[in-house]
């Protein structure tokens, strides 16, 4: 059932180094993203798939992690992602690819989870530097980085508390909790 896959598809920010996604795994996720709807069917998104030991740390150095965890500097060397999919948009095909980016990203996240991997979408990116690392042509704009690997942390859903805070947090056992708004809060009205 999709709902079970959705529950399991959390944002993971700490990874085990093995097993790592293979290049064939990454390509299979593009096969899934390819089938995603696209605004006016323009399909402006392109992808860079990163697996090489040389490039992984270079991509990592362009990313900022977990804005709400002020006491955490991001994954340690042994916790870093073992693969990345960089989502690009071709400005010659679409000037406003925002919805397409989200549609495709959700397909990739669900596909990665089905393969037994975890992922995290990162939008806090040093784009000029990552553009140099990936040696991108000018028409391709960096939209999101999908960090991938075998999850190395436990992530649990929680309810939003009385203080209304939606900031994720970790407890004493280092479990990561993600407060989700209730169904009733999301449904504005039924007609």
């Amino acid at each position: 059932m999709l709902i079970d896959l959705m529950k399991d598809t959390r944002s993971f920010r700490r990874f085990k180094q093995e097993p790592a996604p293979t290049m064939a795994n990454l390509i299979s996720l593009i096969d899934i993203a390819r089938l995603t709807p696209s605004t006016a069917n323009r399909q402006p998104l392109k992808y860079v798939l990163v697996k090489s030991e040389q490039v992984l740390p270079e991509v990592f150095s362009c990313l900022t992690w977990a804005g709400y965890l002020k006491d955490w500097d991001g994954p340690s060397t042994s916790e870093q992602p073992s693969a990345y999919i960089v989502i690009l948009s071709d400005s010659a095909l679409s000037k406003h690819p925002g919805i397409d980016v989200g549609l495709a990203a959700q397909s990739i996240l669900l596909g990665a989870q089905e393969l037994g991997f975890g992922a995290c979408l990162l939008a806090a990116i040093d784009r000029p530097r990552l553009g140099e690392v990936l040696d991108l042509p000018e028409n391709l704009e960096i939209q999101l980085v999908v960090a991938l690997g075998t999850p190395g942390e436990e992530v649990r859903l929680a309810s939003v508390g009385d203080d209304g805070s939606i900031r994720y947090y970790r407890d004493e056992q280092d479990v990561h909790f993600v407060p989700k708004r209730s169904r009733d809060e999301l449904i504005e009205k039924t007609l």
Copy 2:
């Protein structure tokens, strides 16, 4: 397998009137959307669920269909959607909800398909008029309309032809074809 659900999840623009999604079906899709990742976990999206016979035609009158099909004025009365989910964003929670909209919309599309319904995302909306129809407060901005129902047309994936056109089209048998770019065109590079 997710890939099979993805292949089946096409954009449908002509519907049978029965069976129509129930309000319980629509609520179950919000339960799925609720589990979708959200930028900085802000969860700025809200939803209006529309089923009533009075409101359905009013929502329909705010929508423009299938820009590439110049000879088609949209679904006839007997082909119209039998439910809508209107995706809103709360401007007090996020000024740039674009990626969140796509993430949640893809969850809803896949969930609808799993239930046996078809859907279409519509962004060409008379927003001022729909805002009046739904009687929305000022902080809620209309992002997308998800039209839902039992599919009343056949939709097939196709390859992009030599002319490079990604415009969808219908053949003499009224089958709707959607040209998708190839995997090789989408993968900019592997590293």
